[in-house]
Symmetry: C2
Subunit: 286 residues, 2 copies
């Protein structure tokens, strides 16, 4: 692992369900700043097996830590022999611009998994390329994993997972999401972020809209989406019905589950993350 | 539930594994301040069953939230039909004195589950009585639970769980702990807290020392203790070997498990909390 030291700095390690939760720092060429990510390596990876990887994209305000601390995913990941990689939700550091108003839904903690084209964002806010290319390259070069990948996420990260999978179906075996921002071109969170990062060209916005992509795609990557019906953001921001209609239009293999009483929190994610890991594991085994 | 409003104020509710995680505020007569606690009610409690209760005592700096967010206990609690109640770790509020140096290991967030006898602590720092008496009375009056109780905790809370169970074996069916402060009269954390809260009378200190109590007891409440062997506090603060020796001396039914590679974090707790809930559930069913 000595070549690791040149590129990856290990900043924490906790044994968990017989495997290891670890955090690393590295300089990202794509983002032009130092980034931290977390990886869970299941016990199988500690004994020489190249395990498949689930990439988890978090929601607004999160870092690599929220999912690893709150989702309770490690138990099932250890059972299934699945690594999980959780990146941060935006570029970070003093040199990275933030929203002047410091709103939680733009700038730091709110990268929206797009490649920004507009000033002052375009220099660092390239989260799409970071997640699609640089991060998997780094992970596959330095950890005992295979190139079998799945992708999932929550809210802004659910939008990220769906759009990245729909645009790169050859790179993933499956995709899932909790409470995704399903139609960002038509909701306040999405419109605010896209206008800032992508400017006014709506053709560019369409490339980052899960419902528009799904309505139009020939991809057949299996997709599982869970949505809580007491989610405070359901009608205004999330709009799962547009994703459902898009899947119907293109015949896309989407399973959308609605859960009575559940909200937008990690208590919801924890309740169903086991189902998601099993879903991905079945696809990754094929 | 209308009489609830007089005593308990519900401040949050999240559906989780078919049950509910809820936070409440109430005025504690014992502590002379407003306290918040969290309760997890499993699905069985929502359909009229009076379920048993596990009381969870957290460690230094924690509130009611750490365990509920990070331990991943709700999955197994839902499966077993077990409620979990997590109090705060000290009295709270502007009127409650804190350590003048604001150290993390004294004052707010560090009540050590004792009844303080010394000024300025004695007015509010009565966490022993709060956990033993007031909190269970409140819980059993207002929630669909039985009077079958178990108790567990982590670090300072492991000390709390063990000492409370050993002094009140008739009130609990079982006790467990993660990384408990096993012999506080002989470690820096314990000595600092006991000197402040209890003064210099070492006879009083002995009433709050799990190893001394266990060496001397005729109680036979089953006890399960898990300890990580890469825990940074192991030798200086935790000293599980003193608890083990005490159990040998009195023939106490202690199961102490040492786990290679695990640390003091919630990643350790999450890895073995399922075992603890199953252990308690077996005792509670008898």
């Amino acid at each position: 692992m000595s070549e690791l030291a040149n590129e990856l700095e290990n900043v924490s390690a906790n044994k968990c369900f017989g495997g290891w939760h670890k955090q690393y720092r590295h300089f990202s060429r794509t983002l032009g700043c130092t980034m931290r990510f977390a990886v869970y390596l299941p016990p199988q990876a500690m004994v020489g097996e190249n395990v498949p990887v689930l990439y988890w994209l978090s929601g607004l305000t999160c870092t690599d830590e929220n999912f690893m601390q709150k989702a309770g995913a490690q138990r099932m990941a250890a059972e299934l022999g699945l690594a999980i990689v959780a990146p941060d939700t935006s570029p970070r550091g003093d040199e990275v611009p933030d929203d002047p108003a410091q709103a939680y839904d733009l700038g730091l903690g709110a990268g929206f998994y797009v490649n920004a084209s507009e000033a002052p964002w375009s220099r660092h806010y390239q989260m799409y390329d970071y997640v699609v290319k640089e991060l998997p390259e780094l992970i596959e070069a330095h950890f005992p994993v295979s190139d079998r990948r799945a992708i999932s996420g929550h809210s802004m990260g659910g939008h990220g997972a769906l759009t990245i999978a729909l645009r790169n179906p050859e790179r993933y075996r499956s995709v899932s999401a909790f409470s995704p921002i399903s139609h960002p071109v038509d909701c306040p969170w999405g419109q605010k972020a896209f206008r800032a990062y992508l400017g006014d060209d709506q053709a560019l916005w369409r490339e980052y809209d899960a419902s528009l992509l799904m309505a139009d795609t020939r991809a057949t990557l299996p997709a599982l989406v869970d949505q809580g019906m007491d989610d405070a953001f359901l009608e205004r921001e999330l709009k799962p019905e547009t994703l459902e209609a898009a899947a119907r239009a293109s015949g896309y293999p989407l399973t959308l589950r609605r859960h009575e009483g559940y909200d937008h929190s990690y208590y919801f994610i924890a309740s169903f993350i086991g189902d998601h890991l099993q879903f991905h594991s079945r696809q990754l085994a094929q």
